[in-house]
């Protein structure tokens, strides 16, 4: 939850009222100077009353949860290390939500706790910092820095706002459409998040939301994009690697064939409806926008922004260079399926981003020096801890045990109505994402269980497994659930609690839509009986 504070708009109005258009431009420059709001700096802010209580009680609550799990009699089927990992992860989860200590510190504590409780060995825990997700984050922020430094992000954002951003609602919709268009083109979610991040930062600033003075616009913008970048992946079979793994598991374990269009016709309408509901209800019910947050906080509104764009003049050489470097990386991301044919090997998104970063730093040719790259290292530690926890859950067998135990306790057996089983499977698959840091891991654990349940109960495998696979990319509740979440979270534009609020509501809407679709649309498509 973000504290309500006077936004930049009010400050700006005070300044511009007395000093006229010149002051207005100066103040606008100040707003758009993102170097003053570096992501690498961790801002201190005041908390609301609820947040303060959560901080105060969160610390002992986390410890209580840890002790409860750690010292309870070992459940049958679980190893002692699995139990320790569960306890550590539960503690971290409570602390990430309540934030009695900073999120990155919780991650470090989690890493220490995993080692000290014999949950996972030190070598593996420390090795997580070398994972591709961490490298991708570092490179992503280097690339983002060149767009900010050369003002290309500012130019693009101003264009975007002048065309679509006359009010907050249209701006949100513009980004939703942008994410929908990118989803089938770039199969990895993190690159999509990286591409849109600089634009979002500038747009949020124009609407008065910066990392040290966040408002409702920034919170909604970043959370809606978090939803969009993840959920839209679910609209396409190639939207993420996890989707392809889910399909390959369905095909290999059940022998059923699923085509690209089968997936798209079934899932795309579901995700579009869900996103439209999030777009409509998010700023109205979940994180309400105040009237002053619905417009750019620039005196003179769009006209001032137009003047600002004109004042920027023609696109500079440096901006062109940034566009070429970023364009090259995007080109490599978009064309990954042709790499084998062209180069004899595939350039994965991390290497593509790294190639871009190398050019960026090249003396004389590049655009920035190391000190100018805005890399939030606290985020890398946060990510490393989160991934260590998630991987330890998988490695120790605790995640598999938890999911299998859950299904056992649901007492699903012969004679259970299909729709009861359907709803349970969709709900379990949907909400399970909260406890995972990897979609792939979740799919590998969940999908064989879903297929086994379908086969044991005599239901068509596709009727349960395919809708369950559609939930794969709904990883929207916590910053640790997916790479784009971590990237967006690093901007400080929303809190863990904001994320939970949006994520849980939209996940529940997702379960409802998928259930309704199962009874109507999927039935018409021949997926459900």
């Amino acid at each position: 939850m973000v504290s309500r504070q006077p936004g930049n708009g009010q400050l700006l109005d005070d300044a511009t009222n007395s000093a006229g258009p010149a002051a207005s431009h100066a103040a606008l420059d100040d707003i758009l100077d993102l170097e003053k709001h570096k992501l690498a700096n961790v801002p201190e802010r005041q908390s609301s009353g609820t947040e303060r209580w959560m901080k105060y009680l969160g610390f002992p609550l986390g410890i209580a949860v840890f002790l409860l799990i750690f010292y309870m009699p070992l459940p049958v089927g679980l190893t002692a290390s699995g139990q320790a990992v569960l306890a550590c992860f539960a503690l971290a989860l409570v602390w990430w939500v309540c934030e009695p200590v900073p999120t990155y510190l919780t991650s470090l504590i989690l890493m220490i706790a995993l080692v000290f409780t014999d949950g996972w060995d030190q070598e593996h825990v420390l090795g997580v910092l070398g994972f591709d997700v961490i490298w991708l984050n570092v490179m992503a922020f280097v690339l983002s820095s060149i767009l900010v430094k050369t003002a290309l992000a500012k130019r693009l954002a101003l264009n975007l706002i002048i065309r679509f951003g006359h009010n907050a609602s249209k701006m949100f919709l513009a980004f939703i459409v942008l994410q929908l268009c990118l989803a089938p083109l770039i199969p990895a979610t993190a690159p999509r998040a990286v591409m849109t991040l600089p634009l979002m930062l500038v747009v949020a600033a124009i609407y008065g939301s910066t990392s040290d003075k966040v408002n409702g616009f920034g919170r909604n913008l970043f959370l809606q994009n978090l939803l969009g970048v993840n959920i839209f992946s679910s609209g396409f079979m190639t939207g993420s690697t996890a989707n392809l793994i889910a399909i390959s598991l369905i095909m290999s374990l059940s022998g059923e064939k699923v085509y690209y269009t089968d997936w798209m016709f079934a899932s795309l309408p579901v995700v579009i409806i869900a996103m439209l509901l999030a777009w409509f209800f998010g700023p109205r019910l979940l994180i309400r926008l105040r009237p002053e947050e619905r417009k750019p906080v620039i005196e003179g509104g769009i006209a001032t922004l137009k003047r600002q764009l004109e004042r920027m003049g023609k696109i500079s050489f440096q901006e062109k260079k940034a566009a070429v470097i970023f364009g090259l990386v995007i080109f490599l991301w978009v064309t990954d399926r042709f790499h084998m044919q062209w180069f004899g090997f595939e350039i994965n998104p991390v290497m593509a981003a790294m190639a871009g970063a190398v050019i960026t730093f090249l003396p004389k040719i590049g655009l920035i020096k190391w000190n100018e790259a805005d890399i939030p290292w606290h985020l890398m530690l946060f990510s490393a801890g989160a991934y260590a926890g998630g991987l330890a859950l998988d490695n120790s067998g605790a995640a598999r045990w938890a999911i299998a135990s859950l299904f056992q306790h649901l007492h699903i057996g012969p004679g259970t109505n299909f729709w009861v089983v359907y709803v349970v499977i969709i709900a379990v698959n949907m909400y399970a994402h909260i406890f995972f840091t990897s979609k792939t891991m979740r799919v590998i654990i969940m999908m064989p269980i879903v297929i086994a349940v379908a086969q044991q109960l005599g239901f068509p495998v596709l009727a349960l497994a395919l809708p369950a696979a559609f939930t794969t990319d709904w990883v929207i509740t916590l910053p640790i659930n997916a790479k784009p979440n971590v990237i967006y979270f690093s901007t400080g534009q929303f809190s863990v609690l904001d994320n939970i609020k949006y994520g849980l509501v939209i996940s529940t809407i997702g379960v409802i839509i998928l259930t309704l679709a199962g009874m109507t649309w999927f039935r018409w498509l021949g997926i459900t009986p």
């Binding site: 303060r52 002790l67 750690f70 002692a80 200590v101 900073p102």
Partner: protein
């Protein structure tokens, strides 16, 4: 040239005859290892056959200190220890037909199955290894091995399992359950080929966790509630970052 070819053909025929004559299968191989706190293990083997039975069967036993050998379903003197190539085997003289020997049970005790003497490893863990290589004579339809831990002990972690799951989504066929009041790890596999290996490396430890951590963390929680009361007053706790 023609003479050579006919010799090769004759050899292949004889080999083929030999192989046909040994086309038996172990329909079931079940091993139960019940560990005791002193490091010894009571081992029970259950063998069931399918098809005509070979006259002799070798069961590899990698432990040296073995006592109390017993057998059911075999003639007296039909069971002995032999050494081949520096490795130790139980050699069984089997009855002529499968019908005569549908089920054989062998029991013995191994001393020093795991290292019980001395201090345990880090976090109180003790290492436990299980290994089986099928050197019988043919495939095994159904293989199972159960490792029952000493009373009051639990599995800590499974470090290595062979065969590894062939593809994503498959689970290593190792389950943990409570059997006869003991925590038991069970490996179940179908279709073990000749020469195939089944191996498990794991650690186990006492079920009771040391209480020190409980007291330390409780003290920490209370200390936090006392020393960080200012979090409630001004919302700006130096130790806590309110937002990411």
């Amino acid at each position: 040239m023609k003479k050579k070819a006919s010799r090769v053909a004759a050899l292949l025929f004889l080999l083929g005859m030999g192989l046909t004559g040994h086309a038996q299968e172990l329909s079931r191989y079940a091993e139960t290892v019940t560990l005791a706190a002193d490091g010894s293990a009571a081992i029970r083997l259950l063998l069931e056959f399918r098809g005509p039975v070979v006259p002799r069967l070798l069961v590899p036993v990698r432990h040296r200190s073995v006592r109390g050998l017993q057998a059911k379903g075999l003639a007296p003197g039909a069971l002995r220890w032999v050494e081949k190539g520096g490795k130790r085997f139980l050699e069984l003289d089997l009855p002529a037909t499968a019908a005569a020997a549908p089920r054989i049970e062998i029991a013995f005790t191994v001393d020093g199955y795991f290292k019980a003497a001395g201090r345990p490893g880090p976090f109180g863990n003790r290492a436990l290894d299980y290994r089986f290589v099928n050197v019988s004579f043919s495939g095994i339809d159904n293989f199972s091995a159960a490792l029952a831990l000493p009373d009051g002990h639990v599995f800590n972690a499974v470090d290595r399992f062979i065969p590894e799951p062939a593809k994503a989504g498959m689970v290593a066929p190792f389950t943990i359950a409570q059997e006869n009041g003991r925590i038991t790890g069970r490996i179940t596999l179908d279709g073990i080929g000749l020469g195939d290996e089944v191996a498990l490396s794991c650690t186990f430890k006492k079920a009771r966790r040391p209480p020190q951590l409980l007291f330390i963390l409780l003290a920490l929680a209370i200390a936090y509630l006392v020393f960080y009361r200012d979090v409630l007053k001004n919302g700006k706790n130096a130790a806590a970052k309110p937002r990411p």
